[in-house]
């Protein structure tokens, strides 16, 4: 186990810079998820940590040891690949014990360690099989087994669940979480799925276009997104955004299309300030005297009700936990409480406190 420090990590491919001086401090035993849309640089950052790409500038430290330019084998890390990358010509046991074999661990110790890891992951009965004889979930577990058997300082996961079906993904999510609790090893986990990030991480790092947008706990990011991007990226369905200005009494908001939303209490931005209002779909309530909206579409998921609304031409999504008797084309009133509204600066995109 060890902490992980990334200082001003920059990566260029030819003349194209894809990571622009990333700084992240990861504590010993922390579960950190790097999340962001495709092409944001999260996998590149993971590969820099693993040593699979050369860092252009900056430093990576595992514990107190600088590893920026070391070969992957000398970094004492383990990685689970999106494709699992199991060796097809080796059995599960050989796959799991391979890293120990390369480190000249003797056969009996190797067998003991593989068996111990296999037990943790429920793979004991599969040790003699080849990867092609395993299901997707089992392969995933073998890939994790290969990582934990060596007791490395840091685990790296590169979108490990993206090849699994939805049900298995939920199961593996909690298994990885359990594993982390059991082993306590520092984990850096890359995903583009914000639900995965929210449910698994101690700390989430949101990335975009090679920059870190925000670092924080899942609820921190959800409750206080640092900017419009984080606000709309974290949370599903996505946060509603409306451009407009704060009313003169600081208790309301008027959108550019003229929709008025009353908060019932003063909000933080000054009166008449141009803002972008962000409202999470689940923070919208129903009030007969509230902002009028027309129901465009009702999507029941069983547990919730997703409602697409029209606010004077602006699209808006609401999520209700009750099964409201709503019909398409119906008019309804909406309410938003002051402490549930998020405000962002329209020019910088940053959160207004």
């Amino acid at each position: 186990m060890a902490s992980l420090t990334i200082q001003h990590a920059t990566k260029s491919f030819g003349g194209l810079e894809v990571l622009h001086g990333v700084d992240i401090q990861i504590a010993d035993g922390e579960f950190v998820v790097l999340v962001g849309p495709s092409g944001c640089g999260k996998s590149t950052l993971l590969r820099l940590i693993a040593g699979l790409e050369d860092i252009t500038q900056g430093e990576i430290l595992i514990g107190d040891r600088e590893v920026s330019h070391l070969h992957p084998k000398d970094r004492d890390i383990a990685m689970v690949f999106q494709s699992y990358a199991l060796y097809p010509h080796m059995t599960v046991e050989e796959n799991m014990g391979f890293s120990l074999r390369m480190r000249d661990v003797n056969l009996s110790e190797r067998k003991d360690k593989v068996r111990a890891s296999a037990e943790i992951l429920g793979l004991t009965n599969l040790l003699g099989r080849y990867p092609r004889q395993l299901s997707g979930g089992q392969r995933q577990r073998v890939a994790m087994g290969r990582a934990i058997v060596r007791d490395p300082k840091v685990f790296l996961f590169d979108e490990p669940l993206s090849n699994l079906d939805a049900k298995l993904r939920v199961q593996m999510r909690s298994e990885i979480r359990e594993l982390h609790k059991k082993l306590g090893t520092t984990i850096v986990y890359v995903t583009h799925d914000q639900i995965e990030a929210m449910t698994m991480a101690d700390t989430i790092v949101v990335m975009r276009d090679g920059y870190v947008e925000q670092i924080g706990s899942p609820l921190d990011l959800y409750d206080r997104p640092a900017n419009i991007f984080v606000g709309s990226f974290i949370g599903s369905p996505a946060m509603n955004m409306l451009e407009g200005r704060i009313g003169g009494d600081r208790q309301s908001f008027v959108s550019n299309r003229g929709t008025q939303i009353a908060f019932g209490a003063p909000v933080s931005p000054e009166a008449d300030r141009k803002v972008i209002l962000g409202i999470r779909p689940e923070d919208i309530g129903v009030s007969e005297t509230g902002t009028p909206a027309m129901v465009r579409q009702v999507e029941p998921t069983g547990a919730d009700l997703h409602v697409n609304l029209d606010l004077d031409g602006d699209g808006f999504t609401a999520l209700f936990h009750e099964r409201l008797p709503l019909e398409e084309g119906q008019n309804m009133g909406l309410k938003v409480l002051a402490d549930q509204a998020h405000f962002f600066d329209p020019d910088s995109g940053k959160r207004i406190e």
Binding site: G51, Y87, F98
Partner: protein
């Protein structure tokens, strides 16, 4: 259309395809059949028109080829040269192909194109410089010279073939091996090479066939000590038809070792040739 009539139609189509394939196979095997029959006939029977179907077979010419003509020595030369070529060509070609499959495509492309260009040269054009170099280094009529020349002309094909196989092995495996503690060489040797075995078998067989059957380079670069089978057979021919039965017996003799190798490795050959055809 009823199920029975569809089945009938399918069966009829299968029969037609079978007959067409039999005819195709017969046409292809015709020279071989002719050679086998000629090698078992006296020259006067071999050249009668229409050909004699019923004749008294003789193994005289096979005996003569194998035991009165130094055929065994030529076979030994051919086998040494072929094995030598395969032993150099496959390791060197695999290393080159692996490297080319792992460097960026924009860098590998020109090298692969250049190799392809070498393949386009008429062999006669390359044989002469090899002869000059061989003379200069005093290597004419040595195994080494012919082996090196055959490796050189064989290498583009081996590299192209192996390159395709290595491209199909995911790069994640190299990376997983690196993280598991392998150096680049260990990753290649322990993880990648075993997976490329079907491809290597195919490349080795093609390399073996090419060097075993090669005539032009063998004719130019060998002498009495290192003469190979194809060169020896050519010397049986000529306008004297009595030598044709001998030539045919020699041709069958040449074929036998290679047919045995092919039969032994058939399983690998088919697997290697079809590898990657189906994703799975």
């Amino acid at each position: 259309m009823s199920v029975a009539s569809i089945q009938r139609k399918r069966r009829r189509e299968t029969y037609l395809v079978f007959i067409a394939l039999c005819a195709f196979t017969f046409v292809n095997l015709m020279p071989l059949i002719w050679a086998v029959l000629t090698s078992l006939k006296d020259p006067k029977d071999a050249f009668t028109i229409p050909p004699t179907i019923i004749f008294e077979p003789t193994l005289k010419y096979h005996w003569e080829v194998w035991f009165e003509n130094d055929f065994v020595r030529y076979l030994k030369n051919s086998l040494i040269i072929s094995a030598g070529t395969v032993c150099i060509s496959i390791p060197a070609g695999s290393l080159a192909a692996y490297a080319l499959s792992r460097i960026p495509r924009r860098n590998a492309g020109p090298i692969l194109s250049a190799l392809f260009t070498i393949r386009m040269f008429p062999h006669m054009l390359l044989a002469i410089p090899f002869f000059v170099m061989g003379t200069f280094l005093d290597l004419i009529d040595s195994y080494l010279l012919l082996i090196l020349a055959l490796v050189a002309i064989n290498q583009p094909f081996t590299i192209w073939l192996m390159h395709g196989f290595f491209l199909e092995i995911p790069r994640d495996l190299d990376e997983a091996a690196a993280i598991d503690g392998c150096s680049s060489w260990q990753a290649f040797r322990i993880v990648i090479l075993p997976l490329a075995r079907p491809g290597m078998t195919v490349a080795a067989l093609f390399s073996l066939l090419l060097s075993y059957n090669e005539f032009l380079f063998a004719l130019v670069l060998t002498g009495t000590n290192t003469k190979t089978l194809p060169v020896a057979i050519a010397s049986f021919g000529g306008e004297d038809i009595t030598a044709w039965s001998l030539s045919a017996a020699g041709a069958i003799g040449i074929m036998l070792p290679i047919v045995l190798v092919m039969l032994a490795l058939q399983r690998h050959l088919v697997r290697g040739l079809t590898a990657g055809a189906v994703k799975g």
